[in-house]
Amino acid sequence: MAVEQAERLKKARDTLRAASQRVAAHLDACVRCGLCGQSCHIYLAEPEPANLPAAKVARVVSLYRRECSVLGRFVPRLVAATELTPASLVELADAVFGRCTACGRCALHCSIGLDVASIIRAGRQVLAAAGMVPDGLQRTVDNQLQTGNQMALPRDELAQTAAWLSEELRAECDDPQADIPIDRPGQRVLYLVNPREIKFFPLSLLAAAGIFHAAGESWTLSSRFYDVTNYGFYAGDDAAARELTDRLMQEAGRLGVQEVVLSECGHGFRSFRWEGPNWLGRRYPLPVRSILELLDEYLTTGRVQVDPGANPDRVTLHDPCNLVRWGGISEPQRRILKRVTRDFVEMTPNRHNNFCCGGGGGMLSMGQYGTRRLASGAVKAEQIRATGAKIVATPCHNCADQLIELSRHYRLGVEIRTVTELIYAAVVRRSTGSQTRRGQPAGTNAS
């Protein structure tokens, strides 16, 4: 037991040294001015010192100083350097998993400009090396590695769902050829989805399929590796994150597609589009895009026609942190919503400056932090309420889950829908000139 613990600590120490190298300058630059609190949704909801981003950073910095800095080694008290022990790792876990979604908003407003989220992730890497990732999150990573998808859905579940959705699609499109293709080689697009779309929100997948049909797109799903999410990223487990990315890219190669399109998933987009090539240490052989970019292209070029009258209610937009602040996708969804809705209003603040919904960073997988997660959504709830919107669109299934809970908890009375669903509701079919029926909102089929 003691040997095992010593080994874990050694791994954690080695990881701390390696992980902190890239962010060493950020770790060294914090001046602990405390001005970051006002930019953090968790601190704003519960303004206690431990929730200050600087305090969370300090947990990582104190360990880093002890291991990697001159003053930390020789005069640890001067710089509050802390020995890496099981107890200090427990405190670290509470700070970097339980009090931070790594949304990165505080970095924009930090007086120095520290990349706080990357520091938090370095802390998570240390905990992953020590085998101290919270159970729920670790289970999700394990599911993904073992079964190919984070919800551990059996392989035939996708086939069954796709079969009955294809029937729906044929009926809605009045086209006997319409279907949801699986493992069809040589298509233009490999579409990666969130398993949540297969298990709980199949109408999101139907909406995407319906739009692809309207656009005459050549596309396919994969039966083996279709999961756009990457919980290795959240867990700080780079080896798992690399493995999951590699599988998807290999699958794209096996199916011979020309492009990989990612469903509405904030961290999935960030992981696969931006972090993945660096985990793999090579450039991708094919382009990777968010479905929002593709759908925006359909609408802009007139490949898909829409009628905004199908979405008459006021709609506002939640910007997922990983998609917008970390992914650079902020305008396609706005252009889309302006085309497919009658009354689109912005939240304030928005785009890269948005507040996290509270469900990011793997929070939804860590049940022990559920109360904090809901409390931290208070800022988002007030933002939503201030818009007077009846529908909140969000291009992220993870955010959608949190927003559904926020709507109930804070009695917002709003529907949560993905952007794809709102487009599908407004699609004008080429064959008949009539509109499709509206896709069922994500927020209503959750309960």
Partner: protein, 209 residues
């Protein structure tokens, strides 16, 4: 060699130490510039944005919500920068006393700001909980530096004291909190580069902050 000459040599050696000590973290920081993802924007535009417009009160919440702290911080840092220009003049055998005498009002204003910020750190519960001994040492050391700069034009002995004090401060700088004097620019540039490549920076003009 006279005592003032020795003080200047010590100061020059300290300055060299600063350059050497910052080389390692800055080289490490440059590694993310090797990025295999296909860019969607310009890294350079991101760097420029993050070192300019991103600092404006209109963009930065911490400035907007804490205007007094921001102004005091600005005065403190302007004073420290001006005093360091005095150090450079001293090292190059220029008219440091005349220069430091001319900027004395700024130095004293910066000293006042420094004392106020130290007071704030001591009085605020959340700041106290965040603070390390290094935080107090750094602000006290900087206040001492400003005071030494302000009194240095009075006599040769005060000038020598200023040179020695500056040398000691430079020795401490790469080890403790004062590192941020250099790392501020480096981390903003690196973060700006990353977000610039991703097309996040510079942000849309329609973005509401």
């Amino acid at each position: 060699m006279t005592t003032p000459d020795l003080a200047r040599v010590f100061l020059a050696a300290s300055a060299l130490w600063v350059v050497a000590a910052f080389a390692v973290p800055l080289v490490r920081l440059g590694r993310p510039l090797r990025d295999y993802s296909t860019p969607a924007g310009s890294g350079l535009s991101g760097v420029i944005y993050n070192l300019t417009s991103a600092l404006a009160p209109t963009r930065k919440e911490s400035v907007r919500k804490h205007p007094l702290i921001f102004c005091l911080g600005l005065v403190l840092h302007a004073g420290v920068l001006a005093a360091f220009v005095g150090v450079v003049i001293l090292l190059s055998n220029g008219p440091a006393p005349a220069y430091l005498a001319a900027i004395r009002p700024l130095l004293l204003a910066a000293l006042f700001a420094g004392v106020f910020l130290l007071f704030r750190r001591v009085c605020s519960r959340s700041l106290r909980s965040l603070s390390t001994v290094d935080d107090y040492v750094a602000i006290v050391a900087v206040c001492g530096f400003l005071l030494a700069a302000a009194v240095s034009p009075h006599s040769r002995a005060a000038q020598t004291l200023f040179a020695v004090y500056s040398g000691l401060l430079l020795l401490y700088m790469p080890l403790g909190k004062l590192r941020h004097a250099v790392l501020f620019f480096a981390v903003r540039a690196e973060y700006g580069w990353r977000l610039g490549r991703r097309g996040v920076y510079p942000p849309s003009r329609s973005a509401k902050v």
